[in-house]
């Protein structure tokens, strides 16, 4: 298997001086294979979100490198980085991550518009994704007319519709009740198996962790333990 995500001596420090400097991510080197369903776990402040942001090119790293599908994204800036994220990475955030003035369908369609996908193909893929995440018939609803769980399903559909190599999810179930959260993780797992996409998500929920095939434990910005099931 080939590593779709590879970080080498990845560091992200905040602050300048020795006393005030916070080492959010400190010398992290990991490799994640294609199709893995990986959870980054750890207590609050352990660096899970920062690591996800660095992997996704959402934050500027202090040192080290991040290779996604063989491309070092640390060397990318501006439009090139935006285009890379658009074509290779799907993001799912905690909550409230949909464009509120767009319907569920339009939110899913948005990324394909950025990619310049034709109208007929967009329509087909939106319908397909809505069916996959169990939201048939709800496509025309705006986010404020959907429950938290339904909104996250739309976010999952949006993340997957462009067929990215990697999906990064930052505490995707944090704002959901445990039953809905588990259902959502099961859906992600199912999609992971169906499409062989690489899922990396952060969580500190034990029930969610049990769904992951690999657990990367973080503590104080470092990898404390790397556990494969």
């Amino acid at each position: 298997m080939s590593a779709v995500i590879s970080t080498t001596d990845l560091c992200r420090f905040f602050g300048d001086g020795d006393e005030t400097q916070v080492k959010a991510v400190d010398n992290v080197s990991i490799e994640i294979e294609r199709g893995e369903f990986t959870a980054i776990v750890g207590p609050s402040g352990s660096g899970k979100t920062t690591l996800l942001h660095l992997i996704g090119g959402l934050d500027n790293l202090t040192s080290g490198s991040v290779n996604l599908s063989g491309t070092n994204i640390a060397e990318m800036t501006g439009t090139a980085l935006s285009d890379f994220r658009r074509d290779h990475i799907g993001f799912i955030f905690q909550a409230y991550n949909l464009i509120p003035v767009f319907s569920a369908e339009e939110n899913i369609e948005y990324i394909m518009l950025l990619q310049g996908v034709g109208a007929a193909e967009r329509k087909r893929r939106v319908a397909e994704m809505l069916a996959q995440v169990g939201l048939e018939g709800l496509g025309e609803r705006r986010p404020n007319k959907l429950s938290g769980g339904q909104q996250q399903r739309v976010a999952i559909a949006r993340a997957m519709v462009s067929h990215p190599d990697i999906i990064l999810a930052d505490e995707p179930t944090a704002n959901l009740d445990s039953k809905t959260g588990i259902a959502l993780l099961d859906l992600m797992k199912e999609l992971n198996e169906q499409h062989n996409m690489t899922f990396v998500f952060s969580t500190h929920d034990d029930k969610i962790m049990s769904r992951a095939s690999r657990l990367i434990h973080m503590l104080d910005g470092k990898i404390d333990r790397d556990e494969r099931k």
Binding site: T79, S82, R85, I99, I111
Partner: protein, 407 residues
């Protein structure tokens, strides 16, 4: 297209703020349209008052006469000049005048002033002397008739029929001459200088008192078929008349200080517009930044999923564009409504003197297509330009910072 659609929908996310911003820009445009209309109306009124009250649209004198109003510097070929004036098709009317400084005495008081000897009939086509008569009657051609300004009448404590003695210097020899007149009318121009210092009599009586022949004249006042305006005051006739002895000047050349005032008035709309739109632009910048900060998490998300920085800039600029277009619609409609009213009903400011120019009539706003085309274009451009700074800010948002800020 998607960016434009998203931008348009975003306007309705915080309707109150959008409405307030639209009102700020729209009312600024309305204010500019109305102000410019009033300024144009005021300039027209000022020009009418300058050229219509006494000056005319142009005057002919001997060279150097205007410097000291020296009575010896007269035109002595009246027949030849009048013949030339009569043959010129561009000229609507002209009137000869004899002018002299004089001591104007009543039984009770004395005042220094200017006495104009005018042709009663020809003068009606040039000045407003006949319309300014508030007591008595306009000149009929009788020997001893004298019209005096209302303020002068009060100073001299005279009324209709009272005697007035004019003391002045005869031309060429400088001998003092006196003549007795009776007040046949009192005039009120609403302009202090004219009402306090001017008296008018028949040109024949004035010439006789000054020892001038009927071929000698100090001034010709002219009125053209197509009025000499602020923007086009050139005339072939005036160019032809000018030579080493005679100077023929249009009203702008006769009143260079007024020309400057009118120029300033013309540009006042630009200055007011600049101030208004500077304030409106700051409002737009403020509104846009509020909107960006309110949606910063969303900007983080859309940037994270692959929206280019340039597309985020475009989104903000489109929002500004739509706000500007809606504002222009509102501003144009309101400006047209107010303009329609003020251009037909006029705005009465009461008796007013602006830089020595009487403005005692209602000002009728003047509206031109430029106010409803160019001004809105400026508004749209300025609004979009004002949005560049917030747009650049939004484009530079680092997704991880934006996502942290609202969590």
């Amino acid at each position: 297209m998607q960016t434009a659609s998203l931008a348009f929908r975003n306007l309705f996310r915080n309707t109150r703020r959008t409405v307030l911003t639209v009102m700020l820009i729209g009312f600024s445009l309305t204010a500019l349209i109305v102000f410019d209309g009033i300024m144009r109306g005021m300039i027209t009124l000022m020009v009418e008052n300058i050229t219509g009250t006494l000056t005319g649209e142009a005057q002919i004198h001997r060279v150097d006469y205007r410097e000291n109003l020296d009575v010896d510097l007269y035109l002595d070929n009246a027949a030849q000049i009048e013949s030339q004036l009569q043959q010129d098709a561009s000229l609507q009317a002209f009137a000869p005048r004899v002018i002299s400084g004089a001591m104007i005495s009543s039984s009770y008081n004395v005042s220094a002033g200017l006495v104009y000897g005018v042709d009663a009939q020809l003068e009606k086509s040039i000045s407003k002397i006949s319309e300014a008569v508030v007591e008595g009657a306009y000149l009929s051609g009788e020997e001893s008739e004298l019209l005096i300004g209302i303020s002068m009448a009060e100073l001299l404590e005279v009324g209709l029929g009272d005697r007035i003695v004019l003391t002045l210097s005869e031309v060429d020899n400088g001998e003092l001459a006196q003549a007795l007149f009776r007040v046949s009318g009192i005039v009120e121009f609403g302009l202090r200088e004219l009402d306090e210092n001017f008296a008018f009599t028949n040109i024949a009586a004035a010439r006789r008192t000054l020892g001038m022949t009927d071929q000698q004249t100090h001034e010709y006042a002219l009125r053209f078929v197509t009025p000499l305006s602020l923007t086009d005051s050139s005339s072939d006739l005036l160019n032809e008349l000018n030579n080493g002895e005679i100077e023929a000047l249009n009203w702008l050349e006769l009143n260079p200080e007024i020309s400057l005032i009118l120029e300033i008035s013309r540009y006042s709309s630009l200055m007011i517009g600049a101030v208004l739109f500077l304030l409106a632009s700051l409002g737009v910048i403020n509104s846009m930044f509020m909107s960006i900060y309110e949606r910063i998490y969303e900007f983080g998300v859309i940037k994270a999923i692959g929206t280019r920085p340039g597309d985020i800039s475009k989104l903000i600029l489109f929002e500004a564009l739509f706000i500007a277009l809606i504002s222009c619609g509102m501003g144009i409609l309101l400006g047209a409504a107010i303009g329609a009213y003020t251009s037909t009903s006029g705005i009465a400011f009461g008796e007013m003197e602006f830089s020595g120019i009487s403005l005692n009539n209602a000002i009728f706003s003047e509206f031109h297509i430029i106010q409803f085309t160019q001004f809105p274009i400026y508004v749209v451009l300025l609004t979009v330009i004002a949005a560049i700074y917030p747009a650049r800010f939004a484009a530079k948002i680092i997704p991880s910072d934006a996502l942290h800020k609202s969590l």
